[in-house]
Subunit: 109 residues, 2 copies
DNA sequence: TTGACAAGACACCAAAAGGTGTCCTATAAT
DNA sequence: ATTATAGGACACCTTTTGGTGTCTTGTCAA
């Protein structure tokens, strides 16, 4: 795991519920040390740390050392990729098209 | 519409690149049989079928049998959950709000 | 200065994910 | 009637994932 890794897939990074919870916590608190993030989960420190590493590799989190703590901060920018991707499909659930789809389905049967 | 399955996590369903490619193909073609979807991948039929099962369990795909074929159709509606989720964080990358955040941060100190 | 705390680095483990090949049963085509 | 095709159902394999516990090194505090 070197620094200039090809960034991890953001879709993969947000697939895990624990990691989404971490994103939520960091969005609300701006900056938090590992031990404080860990409180919110049933899993141990090591597991939470691993999740944060994955978020870091996806560019979703920055970290810096302050004394004996490691502080984590959210960087939401990579989530734009998700938004762009899902926006391409938003036309498929617009009310009008859903009615149309239902008609097509009825015709098929 | 009669799935009594506990629905799979949509975030997990779209985490895999192959499954996203399947969604893309189905969005473009409305309805496709398994063997035709399989052409577009290097993996075998069984693997593609498994991916479609996961998409089905997430509610992202409907299927119906027609003759000896199984036709698959996209149902994009569950993607709304993704859109809603990511929308919550869009404020973090909007240019204006980033400036605002910086101001707030400066005021905090 | 001595103890308590934060967290990185490992080694390790069970389960899930993604893939394969084979067999079997419908359905279509010749 | 016979053959080819579509795909479900398995059994099986390897890698990844999410988790653990332990050891060690810094850093803060009494």
């Amino acid at each position: 795991m070197s620094e200039n890794n090809p960034l991890r897939d953001v879709f993969h990074a947000i697939a895990d519920p624990t990691r989404r919870a971490l994103i939520r916590l960091l969005a609300e608190a701006r900056e938090l040390p590992l031990h404080e993030l860990t409180i919110h989960f049933r899993t141990g420190r090591t597991a939470v740390s691993k999740h944060l590493t994955i978020l870091k590799e996806a560019g979703l989190v920055f970290d810096r050392k302050l004394g004996r703590e490691t502080l984590f901060r959210l960087n939401a920018a990579p989530l734009r990729e998700i938004q762009d991707w899902v926006a391409d499909y938003s036309k498929f659930w617009s009310a009008n098209l859903q009615r149309l789809n239902r008609l097509i389905e009825e015709e098929d049967q």
